[in-house]
């Protein structure tokens, strides 16, 4: 098991050591695992190639807003599906199932066209033509990640396990359904929020294909897209490329180490209950 673990981590180890080697060492003949002389100047050079502060800001904004909006709308809908009675509940819920099965890759073309022709955005007129719509906008980059049914299923499943006596007690006290959700269900479902949050954050931070399609200016690049283009736009110098790779990987790995339980919960939930 120790050998397996080392093998699993070896590529990351290689990434780190390469990012600390000087250009001269990489060009010289011979190879050593550890850098002969450690230099962190690679990181500074890599970060100066392109506006990395801006890319990090973009990724950070997109991830944060996506996570927050997803948490709010999915918990609300999950509660309604789990605990409220209303005509059409079954039909609405079953049609949400489609959202679980449809891989975003199969709808990226129509979504792209729709966002490009979004009325009154990016220079478009009321009919959605004339401009670039939501291309190169944060909204356009976030929408596909906010859409999706997984979060609703997660919250619904979670709330279905709550005892009905909670609702009965609230009703006796004259608490309405909305306040019952906000005051009783939300405070009791922190783990569900953390799980979906971890999952959405990973997904959004790591996304590549959607920013690739939806952005044309370097100002709107996310870190993943910037890393991919970093390789295309410069002659490959492995120490700089590995520095950039390290930097965009660190935020998520740190988040993961702190909130491991919720990431694992998310993995297992997508696995078993999804």
């Amino acid at each position: 098991m120790i050998v397996a673990s080392i093998l699993m981590l070896a590529p990351f180890f290689l990434m780190l050591t390469t990012s600390l080697k000087s250009s001269a060492e990489l060009k010289s003949i011979g190879f050593s695992v550890l850098p002969r002389e450690t230099t962190i100047s690679n990181y500074l050079v890599a970060m100066q190639r392109g506006n990395w502060v801006r890319y990090f800001y973009n990724s950070f904004v997109i991830t944060t807003v996506t996570v927050l909006v997803s948490l709010v709308i999915n918990s609300m809908a999950g509660y309604a599906f789990a605990r409220l009675r209303f005509p059409g509940r079954q039909a609405l819920f079953v049609s949400s199932l489609i959202g679980l099965m449809i891989p975003p890759q199969t709808t990226m073309i129509p979504v792209f066209i729709m966002l490009r022709h979004f009325p009154l955005a990016g220079g478009n007129d009321l009919l959605g033509s004339g401009g670039i719509g939501l291309i190169n906008s944060y909204t356009g980059l976030m929408i596909p990640f906010i859409a999706g049914s997984f979060g609703v299923f997660l919250f619904r499943q979670y709330y279905l396990n709550f005892p009905h006596s909670l609702d009965d007690a609230a009703e006796i006290d004259g608490v309405g359904k909305l306040r019952c959700f906000l005051w009783i269900y939300v405070p009791l479902s922190k783990p569900a929020f953390a799980t979906l949050g971890a999952l959405k954050a990973t997904q959004t931070w790591n996304e590549y294909i959607w920013p690739l399609i939806m952005t044309t200016t370097s100002d709107m690049r996310t870190v993943q897209l910037a890393l991919a283009l970093f390789r295309d736009e410069h002659e490959i110098e492995w120490n700089y490329l590995m520095s950039a790779t390290t930097i965009i990987t660190i935020p998520l790995v740190v988040l993961f180490l702190f909130a491991q339980r919720f990431f694992v919960e998310g993995i297992v939930t997508t696995g078993i209950k999804g």
């Binding site: 990351f12 290689l14 049609s95 979504v111 359904k177």
Partner: protein
């Protein structure tokens, strides 16, 4: 108690708007587009032409073949190795936390970042893969630039990346097997191989089936590693279905044709999903997690 709660509609509305406009409507639009020759500027109905072309398009055929090979080997290896790792971790050996983290990190890291690392490993000039071969006196290989090895290289990397996911799901499954089954078997004199074949594997069957189906579905979406490691090359040796969709739609602007390919992909995935619902129900009553 039989009263209805109109507030429910308000609570569901935001979620449903996103679902409706950005998932349900696009599916309909995709079907519509697949019968046109839309190129972002103008469009005409072309009937079944796009679908007919799918049968002649050799790039699409290669991409189907590559995607199937990728799915078969990635899912197969990552499941066998994932089960192996889960079995080793089942008894909570000391250091299990570190082991688990080492398996998760590749799964958590982004495909772009991970692809960059493996690009370096596979570098024909200075990459570590060739350095290791040279140690054993084997001459360097061109790896991603050699159509004989390129797809295998991508598969090896992908197995490494998704292994941790398979491991953790198997591990959850293993921990849910009631210990008394093993105790009873021990009393009956079963050896560990018999226990594995007669208890562990049958009890894991729903999870195995589930991992297989989701693994295949995910494999059919493979794009990022291909785009970064090889861009589909050399000479289309590693192009995949989603890579073809992306190329046709966003490099050649053949939106109509790419939409037809998306529908084909959607049908394949829908078929696998329905297969899962039809035959996967043995696992539905096994609530784990």
């Amino acid at each position: 108690m039989r009263n209805i709660h109109p507030i429910a509609y308000v609570l569901i509305l935001p979620f449903y708007m996103f679902l409706f406009f950005f998932i349900l409507v696009p599916i309909g639009m995709n079907i519509f587009l697949s019968f046109t020759n839309y190129d972002l500027i103008q469009w005409d109905f072309v009937g079944w032409k796009n679908y007919r072309y799918l049968f002649q398009d050799s790039h699409f055929h290669i991409s189907l073949r590559n995607t199937s090979l990728y799915a078969f080997f990635t899912v197969g290896f990552s499941m066998v190795l994932g089960l192996g790792a889960a079995l080793l971790l089942k008894g909570n050996p000391p250091g299990i936390k570190i082991y688990r983290i080492s398996f998760y990190i590749p799964y958590i890291a982004s495909m772009v970042a991970v692809s960059m690392i493996w690009l370096w490993i596979y570098d024909p000039m200075d990459g570590i893969a060739n350095k290791i071969l040279n140690l054993f006196g084997i001459p360097s290989k061109q790896w991603l630039y050699d159509s004989q090895y390129a797809l295998s290289c991508i598969i090896v990397m992908s197995v490494w990346k998704v292994l941790g996911y398979n491991m953790i799901v198997f591990l959850t499954g293993l921990q849910a097997i009631p210990p008394y089954l093993y105790e009873a078997a021990t009393i009956d004199g079963a050896n560990s191989i018999q226990k594995f074949l007669k208890i562990t594997l049958p009890m894991l069957q729903p999870i195995t089936f589930f991992l297989f189906v989701t693994g295949v579905i995910n494999s059919f979406k493979v794009f990022e590693q291909v785009a970064i490691l090889t861009a589909g090359g050399p000479s289309n040796a590693t192009t995949t279905v989603v890579h073809q969709i992306y190329n046709r739609a966003f490099n050649e602007f053949a939106m109509g044709y790419a939409a037809a390919m998306s529908i084909a992909l959607l049908l394949v995935i829908a078929f696998i999903t329905l297969f899962n619902y039809r035959y996967g129900n043995q696992g539905a009553d096994l609530e784990i997690g």
